[in-house]
Amino acid sequence: MAPISEGTAVRAAARGAAKRRRQALVFGLFGALVFCALAPLVIILIYLLAGGLPAISWEFLTRGPSNMMRSGGIFPALVGTFLLVLGSSLVAVPLGVAGGLYLSEFARPGPFTRLIRLAVLNLAGVPSVVYGLFGLSLFVVFLKMGVSVLAGSLTLGVMVLPIIISATEEAARNVPASHRHASLALGATKWTTVRHVVLPGAMPGILTGAILAVSRVAGETAPIMFTAAAFFLPRLPTSPLDPVMALPYHLYVLSTEVARADPRLRTGTALVLVTLVLLSNLLAIVLRARMRARQGGGGV
C-alpha cells in the first residue's frame, strides 16, 4: 500500500461527499414518488374514517334502512353483497380454474388456443355495464331468472371469469417443468400430475386471482343494477330468485336518489365496503404466506 498524500485524501473525501449528496437526492426523489402513489389511498381512508366512523354502530350494521332510507342501517345490503360474492365465486372459481388449467396444461398450441386466450383478454376489458346488459338479457329475461341473487351471481361470475382464468394459467405456467417431469417419471398420469403437482403449486396464484375477483364483485355497481339489486328491500332474500340490496348499489342510490339523506350514511356505507375489500385482501395475503411457508423456502 502506497501512502496516500494529504491532497489526494481531501479530493477523495470531497468526491465521497458529492456522491452521498447525489444518493440522498435520488433516495429523496424515490421517497416523494412513493408518497405520491400512497397519498390518494391515505386521503381516501382519512376521508372515509372521518366521515364514516361516526355513522358506524351496531345498529348501523344490523338494521335495515328506515325513514325512506334517510336513517337506519345497511344490514340487508351487507348480506346481499356477501351472497353475491359467495354466489359469483361458486360460479367463477371452478370454471376459471378449470379453464386456466386447460389453457396451460392441455390445450395444444395453435390458432384455436390463441383465439381462446385473446377472447379471455378481451373479456377482461369489457366494461362492467356491458356485463350488466348481458346478464339482463340472458339470465334475467331469456332464462327467466328475474332480478335475483342467482342472475346477479351468474353475471358477476362471468365478469370475473377472465381474471381467474388468467391468474390460474399464469400460476400454472410458473410451476417448474421439472416438477411435472418428476411426477410423470414416477408413473403418474397427466391428469394426476395436474391435480397433485400443478394445482397445489399454482394455488397461491389462484388465490390471488380469486381475491381480486372478490374485491371486484363486492365493489361493482353496474352489473348488478339490472340483474340483482333492489332499490330498497328491508327484508332478507328467502330464495336465490329473490332480489337483494347490495352495498355499492345502495351507496349509489343514497348518493343520487335520496333527497336530504344524512351524508354520514353514505360515508359509513363506503367505509364498510372498503373495509370488507381490504379485509378480504388481507385474508388472501395471510393464506398465501401460510401456503408458501408450508411449501418451503429456498427452492431449486
Binding site: A182, L184, L186, A188
Partner: protein, 265 residues
C-alpha cells in the same frame, strides 16, 4: 405394488439382459439426435453412458422410459425392450413403463411438499392409502437412499429445506418408493459438491444389488468408479460399448481414445 422385494425379482436374472434397444433413432423435429443405437443393459449392474455435451446420451436415456414423449416435437423409431417386450409397442401405456423404469434427474427436483409426501407421492398415485403401509414404504425407501438417519426426525418438514445432496438422495428415495425394476439416472451428481457426489456414488453401488441402473454422466472418473459396462456416445452414435475397465484402458475406437484422454469434450 409388488410384494416381492426387487432384489429377489431381479437377482434371478443377474447379469442377463434387462433392457435393450434395437435400432433406436430419435429426432427433434428434423434433427436426428440418436442414430440407430443397439445395446443391451445387464440386470443388477450399473451401466454408464458417457460422451461430450450434446452427444445425445440424455436423449437416449429418456427414450428408455418414454419420457421424451413429454417434450414436444420428439419422434422415436426402433425398439426399446424391457424383459424382451417393446415398450413402444401399440397398446403399451407409458405410465406403466415409467412405473417399472424409474428416473432420477440432473438437478434435484423435489416437490414443494414435505419429505414424507415427496416419497409417498408415487405409491399414493398407485393406490396405496393405508397410513401404516405408506409409512413403511417411506421408511424403507429413505433407508435404501441412505437418507433415513438424517431426516427421520423431520419427515413432515418441507423437502426444499434440505441441502442439494440430500434433495438428490430424496429424489432417489422417491423413485425407489414405487419399486421400479430399472433406475435411470441422468447426471445425478452434476449439481452436487464432491462430498455429496461421493455419497450418491456409494449409494449407486449399493442400489445395483436390487436394481438395474443406467447412469448418464460426463464425468469419466465417475463412470469408471461406479459402472461395470460403459457406452461412449458421440454425435448421436454409440461409438463404443464394453466392459468399463477395457473401455478406459484399451479403447478400440480412436474417437473413444481421443475422448477419454481428454483431447476433446
Amino acid at each position: 405394488m409388488s410384494s416381492s422385494p426387487g432384489a429377489d425379482r431381479a437377482s434371478l436374472n443377474a447379469g442377463g439382459v434387462k433392457m435393450a434397444t434395437d435400432g433406436l433413432s430419435i429426432w427433434y423435429g428434423s434433427i436426428q439426435a440418436i442414430k440407430n443405437v443397439t445395446a443391451g443393459f445387464a440386470s443388477n449392474r450399473v451401466t454408464a453412458l458417457i460422451g461430450p455435451s450434446g452427444c445425445g446420451k440424455s436423449t437416449f436415456l429418456r427414450a428408455l422410459n418414454r419420457m421424451n414423449e413429454v417434450l414436444p416435437g420428439v419422434h422415436t423409431a426402433g425398439r426399446v425392450l424391457l424383459d424382451g417386450e417393446d415398450v413402444y409397442a401399440a397398446g403399451v401405456d407409458p405410465v406403466d413403463i415409467r412405473r417399472r423404469v424409474g428416473m432420477v434427474f440432473q438437478r434435484p427436483n423435489p416437490f414443494p411438499f414435505t419429505i414424507f409426501d415427496n416419497v409417498a407421492y408415487g405409491p399414493r398415485r398407485h393406490g396405496v392409502v393405508a397410513k401404516g403401509e405408506l409409512a413403511g414404504i417411506v421408511e424403507r425407501s429413505l433407508k435404501e437412499a441412505v437418507l433415513w438417519e438424517e431426516v427421520a426426525g423431520r419427515l413432515h418438514t418441507p423437502a426444499m429445506n434440505l441441502s442439494g445432496g440430500q434433495q438428490q438422495r430424496l429424489c432417489i428415495a422417491r423413485a425407489l418408493a414405487v419399486r421400479p425394476e430399472v433406475l435411470l439416472m441422468d447426471e445425478p451428481a452434476s449439481a452436487l459438491d464432491p462430498v455429496a457426489t461421493g455419497r450418491v456414488e456409494d449409494l449407486i453401488a449399493e442400489l445395483c444389488k436390487s436394481y438395474t441402473i443406467i447412469i448418464v454422466t460426463h464425468n469419466m472418473q465417475q463412470a469408471a468408479r461406479v459402472s461395470t459396462k460403459t457406452g461412449f456416445f458421440l454425435h448421436g452414435e454409440l461409438v463404443e460399448y464394453g466392459p468399463t475397465d477395457e473401455l478406459f484402458t484399451r479403447p478400440k475406437d480412436p474417437r473413444t481414445e481421443a475422448y477419454i484422454t481428454g483431447r476433446f469434450g
